[in-house]
């Protein structure tokens, strides 16, 4: 297993390098290249000499491989450049925003798991009955609902129509204050969770079905164990393990979903910072947020895999 984990960590590092390469290519897609970037920052009246100094100072005249090596070095030392629009180092901005996004992601993932697992089990125990079909249809519809549409509908109903929850996410600057303002958190967290509840409950349903056909379940029944005990002790514990893998695999999608949720509810996290950077052509911040989001996702998936390896000693890692 140690060998597997080592390989998995090396792979994660390779993925991070790959992300650096992708962002580097994206950066160089910038029409007009470095000169027009200099013009954006220095203003339209910058003289050629000023532009030349800018290019030299920022290493933009260096060979492309040197530039890439510098970028990789910066990513691994968390030195992500300077946001021209917000007039702050990108790393400072990200350190402010990241905890808030982690709160949103953490709460939503928790809610997803808490709702989806009992739902999947319920469907298995009532399988092929009307309630199972109804829930399946519902999960299909929720799965197909774009996150932003669900967000809009929830704002319409719960904020504008019934005045139960505020339409906007908490705007406080500290994580503690955001958590205190829990009413404002309800809609964003629910929106982000709802789409994934659909997928996870479907997966839980198949996973539980699968576990119920295993030999050890039959053995347990044959020994005269109660159905309840067989279902909840023998089958459920084994059915839960794949959910962890699914969590790791779905993480990139959930992070993308957080981007949309933050935009819909004006939640002051990484996604919103990224989105504003995209609109304002704030390239250092744009690329910094992409790299951090990617690294966070890779680390999350890595943790899920490690957890999985610890929880299920049956798996052989070839």
């Amino acid at each position: 297993m140690i060998g597997y984990l080592t390989r998995r960590v090396i792979q994660a590092v390779i993925v991070v390098l790959g992300v650096c390469l992708i962002t580097f290519i994206l950066y160089h897609l910038f029409p007009g290249g470095a000169t027009s970037e200099a013009r954006i920052i220095l203003g339209p009246r910058a003289s050629p000499a000023q532009i030349g100094i800018f290019l030299k100072a920022n290493g933009l005249n260096d060979p492309i491989w040197t530039q890439f090596a510098v970028l990789v070095g910066h990513v691994f030392t968390f030195n992500l450049g300077y946001s021209y629009k917000l007039n702050e180092p990108v790393s400072t901005i990200i350190l402010q925003k990241l905890p808030k996004t982690l709160v949103l992601l953490g709460l939503s993932t928790l809610l997803t798991v808490i709702v989806a697992i009992p739902l999947g089990i319920f469907q298995v125990l009532r399988r092929n009955k009307p309630s199972d079909y109804a829930l399946t249809t519902l999960s299909f519809i929720f799965y197909a609902t774009p996150t932003f549409f669900l967000g809009i509908v929830l704002i319409q109903l719960f904020a504008i129509h019934w005045h139960i929850f505020p339409p906007e996410a908490p705007q406080s600057s500290s994580v503690g204050a955001i958590l205190t303002d829990w009413q404002a958190l309800v809609l964003p967290v629910f929106t982000l969770a709802a789409v994934y509840v659909a997928g996870f409950s479907r997966y839980m349903r198949s996973s539980m079905m699968e576990a119920l056909t295993e030999d050890y379940v039959r053995t347990a029944r044959a020994k005269g164990m109660s159905t309840r005990r067989v279902n909840y002790v023998h089958a459920l514990r084994n059915a839960l393990i794949p959910i962890i893998t699914l969590l790791g695999l779905t993480l990139p999608a959930i992070v993308s979903g957080a981007l949309i949720t933050e935009d819909v509810f004006n939640y002051p996290g990484m996604g919103l910072a990224f989105f504003n950077a995209a609109i304002n052509n704030d390239f250092p911040l744009l690329i910094g947020t992409v790299v951090v989001a990617a690294v966070a996702t890779v680390v999350g998936s890595l943790l899920a895999d490690i957890l999985y390896a610890v929880l299920d000693p049956r798996i052989r890692y070839v």
Partner: protein
């Protein structure tokens, strides 16, 4: 099969709606469809008839096909029947703006005075064109990528699959938006961007299938007769993986509609006066507070209906292709 990346316990019951996750554990689905042999007795005609019969037994899938046909007619034939000005409208009458649904405008008008039903047609046509094109391009590219990776094997396979892993483990929406922000969106750029997110899953699926197909007797026979690698991949491996390809392509269309809608919603859509359903929602949201429900609900419901339909069709197709094995 796939060195150490996903220690996934195989689930025999498929996961119908998680097309992403299913792609990753996709080799589990694939072996069920691998058994077609070239020149098999009974011929293609009866086979496709069996597939069709099983597919047609699924009422939800038939309804979904009907829904897709309806949407295609609505978006592409509709504008010729329900004629509205969607291109060069100059607002002269202020009463035309944000009009409530009524006899003149079945679903009212938007803040620019465009008729919402006509807007739905234009937006839907754009959304469907982009999604179908993107899913098609992504499937073709992914199939060749996966087939080559699986057929060649070795270092090439390892490198090609690490590329797929890298992009799959990154929140793609971020990358797509960076591209959309740097290069100003046009129709074809958006097709390209949506396809960029969609080719990974087919590549993985087909690579898994190729690994089993390349050991078949008929592949060995071709090799013995002097057939080259490209002939084997194009004439023998890809045709025999067609079930997986079709099923996955259906899910890719559904996913492409979602990605496109998200991009459009975030403001990276086709340039005005063109629109797509996601963009319509994004534009309508500012007027939702004033009660202009017709600007958001029709477009949102249209996205859901089309996505659900494609997912149901994909599910039914998978069942149909699997049943073909049980009848033999």
């Amino acid at each position: 099969m796939d060195e150490g990346r996903d220690p996934v316990i195989p689930l025999k019951g498929d996961v119908p709606i998680m097309s992403q996750a299913e792609g990753l554990s996709g080799q589990l689905v694939a072996p069920a469809m691998e058994v077609t042999e070239a020149g098999e007795a009974g011929g293609v005609g009866s086979l496709s008839r069996i597939i069709w019969r099983v597919f047609a037994e699924n009422k939800l899938a038939l309804i979904s096909v009907g829904m897709i046909i309806f949407m295609l007619l609505f978006c592409f034939v509709g504008p010729h029947i329900y004629v509205t000005d969607q291109a060069n409208l100059v607002v002269t009458n202020i009463n035309q703006v944000l009009a409530h649904p009524g006899a003149a405008h079945l679903l009212g008008t938007d803040p620019n005075g465009y008729d919402t039903v006509g807007r739905l047609m234009v937006g839907g046509a754009t959304a469907l064109e982009i999604s179908l094109l993107a899913a098609g391009i992504a499937t073709v590219f992914g199939v060749f990528f996966g087939a080559i990776s699986g057929y060649v094997g070795g270092v090439v396979d390892a490198i090609m699959m690490r590329i797929v892993d890298t992009v799959l483990s990154v929140p793609t929406l971020f990358l797509l938006i960076v591209i959309a922000a740097i290069l100003k969106p046009s129709f074809w750029l958006i097709v390209f961007i949506v396809a960029l997110a969609a080719w990974l899953v087919p590549a993985r699926l087909i690579r898994g299938e190729t690994l089993t197909l390349r050991t078949r007797e008929y592949v060995q026979a071709v090799r013995a007769m002097g057939g080259g690698g490209s002939r084997i991949v194009v004439r023998h491996i890809i045709p025999n993986a067609v079930g997986t390809i079709i099923v996955n392509a259906t899910f890719q269309i559904a996913d492409a509609i979602g990605v496109l809608a998200a991009l459009g919603f975030l403001g990276f859509g086709v340039p005005s006066p063109g629109t797509s359903w996601g963009q319509m929602l994004s534009d309508g949201i500012s007027y939702a507070q004033e009660g202009a429900w017709w600007l958001i609900y029709p477009a949102g419901v249209a996205i859901i209906l089309v996505t659900v339909s494609f997912n149901y069709i994909g599910d039914a197709l998978r069942d149909a292709f699997e049943v073909r094995l049980q009848r033999r």
